[in-house]
Symmetry: C2
């Protein structure tokens, strides 16, 4: 049982969210031997290709060997097809048994066998791990073959794995232009490009600095898991398709090429020689996990096949995988109850989200529109204004820009609901950093330079005024709009004017205006009054009737406790589970990294609560808020935005609470569609 | 009705927590005239002295005048005693009526009257506002006179007003050494000393910079209220004992001298001439609100009479006010249900708290012990340690110092319970400030200085590692102890060893060890295991049995939601309502000043939620936590620490929730005793 407690087992459990407490079991059985001579052997295999999903018998074996020899990657095994020549009877029996196993379990089988003196023994079978690509291919094939129903296919595919199908691929021309330096086994598909590192700790360190790294090893061992986790890809010199690097790479959806035997890896000198060339730590290397080709240098990547189809760069008919992907998600849409929206701030993001199947925007962050190069000077002028009149003058310049943004987003969503959140971050985020200004001024003073010094000092004074000790709990969200109602006025006007323009063009649009960070019903009422007044003015000027909703984020614990009072006036709630997690735990999202690992090591938390919702705490708040809100207003529209909207475990919880929709980042929309379907099926 | 909406009425309501929504009423009645000639007049008065509480007829009148003339302070009125000579019949009738009014209302009356052609008309009577000193004197006198019962006395005194009796007084020798430059009317007692300012806005600005200011005015007007609120005292050249400055000064418990007619105040030139001397804005002036004496210069203050008695510097018998204060609080103790503890970190604070009547410590913040000059270098060494061994070496040095602290606090509390909170703040609080280091290094680099530069850079690197974006939600409290269990071990050992020493000396002590910032039951269990292990080792080494409790702060919203799970293992809960308010509202205590006034102006919040508990939100969390906790463990001890423990309105709420005790800062303990009694009486 000791293997349950070793560090690599713990790391594995951490990555895959397996609780430490469940324990492990041990079976005791008679031993068979594959190493009694040339009439014996051992092997492993899959009933279908776990990398591509192709319906082909797949695996490896070694004559006169035990199982450990295959997996360890020390001897290079033979492809399983060659077993037919060597031991035809055993091979035929193996094929018959594994086919029956697949039919029985209605899924791809990952099996191990040993042949002792030509007698076949099955050691193990289980549902095979597979890449995201393979998962979609296998599920759609099994439906076609009549083995399973479409709903089984929906149940079978891990929603998280769909993101692998959206990962970038190499630009074919750039890729073709570079000669391959060697070729290994294509263990896990995908385009990988990064700076070479030779051990897992280095990989973690470099990745932490925001660098793309490739982990290059003679062979990987379970201790490398944390390095593989952060790497763009894994490249090894030894090992087969079922070696550690290959198995783990596929599971993680991490591009991997293994057994590239021409690589001479000197991990101590941090250099690789290969066919007369060499590369060192820090050099760029690229490889293709589907072909196994390895190239020295950096190759531009391009969107995955699915994205190319969505962008109209590739026809649907020419992409097999797009057809399967699309079919699977249509099956999912038939069974799910939850609506799926996207978090998108710009028209192009909205268009992508729509193409991925989002039917509505759950969160359009207006302040992201402020960060454009042409806009930030206006925003800064607004912040530095000494009077309301100056501030209004700057806001007047922002108005047409925001109106254009909203028009574009509405249009991209083709009449689906769009929730626009009014300004959220504290104003100092739009100004230079306080400590950088302090350092600049100190340096200029020390050097006796006076050019621009007074302006910098004046800027610093304003930055100091705006400085906050805990900006996450500072002057932001609705608090800003209460101090400066003219900001909310401008935004409400821009939204309504954009809606009027669309109405005039004959398009349908119902803007949902969302007030962020409400904790007190008085805040909501105050701002709703501002919005309603501006809307009445705008619509009367335009001579139009446009329906709009006013609602709020529920992201402050206090708002949950008074949700009934807020719901009396609000048309909708959107649970902002990022902030709600911050406030409920008292964990700053930006600082949790300082202790999260200690919490996981000591078994206090299994998953990062910002990745997957903490059902006992934050989830309890969502449930209370939803119940109180619906008690006060039975038709209250309830959704969730924030990262949890794209996390399958969280989506399952939101299904349980009975929310109307989840909103995820565009690339997580397919995952959310599938996860919502699984959540609905689980409750049938 | 318009007067209800004018800015000064709004400001008044804000200061006294009167909701804007309640509105005002208007009576219509026949007019009488005090300005028909010398047989007419008008006046105001109190049945007892509202400044000192002395049982004497007190007031002023003006012949041939209307009420407004007395209050406005333009004509200087005559003392009410002189009315006896001018209009003996009306005076006798007035005395008889006001005595009856006091008997009827069983409280001091503040009345207004007009005499029209020698006929007395009573215009108004109401319970009189009074200073804290007067409130205690009047209440105890009324009991002695048999007018009211002790419980009525307890009901009658505003608990907040007791703090006035604890305010410092001048050092008599220093005061005597300085000549008085003039003398005014002693409108509100207390020693005031500060830098002179001439208008309310200036007062607010200077006070905001942490300066002590005296507001000096020809006369005050209601627009000055915000300046009076922040000033150490108010000094005016005109006006009587019932002028605006006098009335408001007494209500606020703010030392005030009014009608100091020798002052020639030039508010535009910001200078005062008085008897050939002068002082300007920014000069120090001192005055005594009980004698009316004004002096130019700064006079050292000393503890109030009550503090002098408690410190043994003055005998109980020689202090009338101490006797009354003490009697009133004993009556309060008889009726209250809530226990009263204090927040005290050092033995001397604990002794003061005990003297004020605290019976236990609800919060002993151990990290305050780390900030001592002899300790901070050791603490820094602990933080900068690169290995656990180095860290343990520094902790070993801290152990005897902490043990000594705890021993002193236990001893000062004479066997009453002492709750010790383990380390709470993030470690960077013990290191130099990041931006200051950055500026120092930039300056040294720009000037080409290299001395000590490398050390500073190394220090900055560590400070950068510890830097947090939102330290209030960062690596602090139990999170620190989970990363560095050796800190909690040292603290637990110091607590238990101190307790053992007392046990050996024959003293009783039951330490209550409190784990801060728990949000997850796993955190509590992890640390309780550490404490129990250390306790077992320490007690076995000592060969003693000492009882101790392990409990937690409930200050993180999530902990409320899982309070039942935590209570299964915890001996007590202490609601940390400061942090709970921060997290429930998402308001940083350090940053709320940026928008609180806007919230009050717009009627969203009436009181600062850090001063008085927000019953709908934070209070709801306290109630849920208490209920869940007691469901799981009926005998769970429940208390509250944090500022709300000394706020009367909050104490009333905690009585309602049924907590066992409140813990207040030592100087708020008398207020808490009285408020707890009133809360109990209100529920009879």
């Amino acid at each position: 049982f000791r293997s349950w407690q070793n560090p690599r087992a713990k790391e594995y459990r951490r990555i895959y969210d397996i609780p430490d407490a469940i324990g492990t079991a041990v079976n005791v059985q008679a031993m068979v031997f594959g190493n009694t001579g040339d009439r014996s052997g051992t092997g492993v295999g899959f009933t279908r290709n776990p990398a591509t999903g192709a319906n082909e018998f797949y695996g490896e074996f070694l004559i006169n060997a035990q199982g450990e020899d295959v997996v360890a990657g020390i001897r290079t095994p033979q492809p399983i097809g060659e077993l037919e020549q060597v031991m035809p009877r055993a091979y035929a029996e193996l094929r018959a048994i594994t086919k029956r196993l697949e039919q029985h379990y209605r899924d791809v089988q990952d099996f191990e066998f040993t042949i002792e003196d030509e007698k076949l023994y099955m050691l193990q079978t289980r549902n095979g791990k597979r890449t995201g690509h393979a998962a979609v291919v296998i599920a759609t094939d099994l439906v076609e073959e009549g083995v399973i129903e479409p709903e089984d296919a929906v149940r079978m595919v891990d929603p998280d794995a769909l993101t692998q199908l959206l990962a970038p691929v190499f630009d074919p021309d750039a890729w073709a232009a570079l000669p391959a330096v060697t070729r290994g086994l294509p263990a896990s598909p995908g385009a990988a490009c990064g700076e070479v590192v030779f051990n897992a700790d280095e990989a973690v360190r470099w990745a932490g600095q925001g660098r793309d790294v490739l982990l290059v090893r003679k062979e990987t061992v379970p201790d490398d898991i944390h390095g593989m986790h952060v790497a763009q890809g894994v490249l090894t010199a030894t090992g087969g398709m079922t070696s550690h690097a290959a198995v783990v790479g596929r599971q993680m959806g991490k591009p991997s090429v293994v057994g590239a035997g021409e690589l001479h890896v000197s991990e101590s000198e941090r250099v690789v020689t290969v066919n007369g060339q060499r590369f060192e730590q820090g050099d760029y290397v690229s490889f293709d996990g589907l072909s196994g080709e390895v190239k020295i240098g950096r190759v531009a990547t391009r969107p995955s096949e699915i994205l190319q189809v969505l962008a109209g760069q590739l026809s649907q008919r020419r992409s097999d995988i797009y057809g399967r992907f699309s079919r699977l998600l249509k099956w999912a849409d038939k069974v799910r109850r939850l609506g799926i929206r996207a978090n998108a701030d710009q028209p192009d993001q909205a268009a992508t989200a729509y193409a991925f199947g989002a039917r509505g925007i759950g969160l359009c962050r207006t302040e992201h529109m402020f960060f454009g190069e042409d806009r930030i000077p206006i925003v800064q002028r607004m912040i530095l204004a000494e009077t309301e009149a100056e501030r209004r003058a700057a806001l007047d310049e922002l108005l047409p820009l925001q109106r254009e943004d909203f028009y574009g987003v509405f249009k991209a969503m083709r009449g689906q609901p769009v929730t626009i959140r009014l300004i959220d971050p504290p104003l100092h985020e739009f100004l230079p950093k306080r400590e950088e200004l302090m350092v600049e001024i100190a340096r200029a003073e020390a050097q006796g330079r006076t050019d621009g010094l007074e302006q910098k000092r004046a800027l610093l004074r304003r930055v100091e005024q705006l400085h906050e000790f805990n900006p996450m709990m500072g002057h932001r969200g609705v608090r800003l709009a209460i101090s400066y109602p003219e900001i909310a006025e401008m935004q409400a006007r821009a939204i309504l004017e954009a809606a009027c323009r669309l109405a005039r063009e004959g398009s349908k649009v119902v803007p949902e205006i969302m007030i962020p960070l409400v904790g007190h019903v008085g805040e909501f009422r105050d701002q709703k009054a501002v919005i309603d007044r501006v809307a009445a003015e705008t619509l009367s000027t335009a001579g139009l009737k446009v329906k709009y909703l006013v609602g709020t984020m529920i992201e402050i614990p206090r708002s949950v406790l008074v949700a009934d009072a807020i719901a009396a006036d609000a048309d909708f709630f959107s649970f902002g589970t990022n902030d709600l997690t911050q406030m409920a735990f008292g964990f700053s999202r930006d600082d949790i990294g300082k202790f999260l690992k200690d919490y996981q090591d000591r078994g206090i938390l299994t998953r990062d609560p910002f990745e997957s919702i903490d059902t006992d705490g934050v989830g309890a708040l969502v449930r209370i808020g939803a119940e109180k809100g619906r008690d006060a207003r039975p038709k209250l529209k309830l959704g969730v935005c924030g990262e949890h909207g794209g996390d399958p475990a969280s989506i399952d919880f939101f299904e349980d609470v009975g929310l109307d929709y989840v909103s995820a980042s565009p690339f997580r929309v397919p995952t959310a569609r599938l996860a919502a379907a699984q959540a609905a099926l689980a409750r049938r």
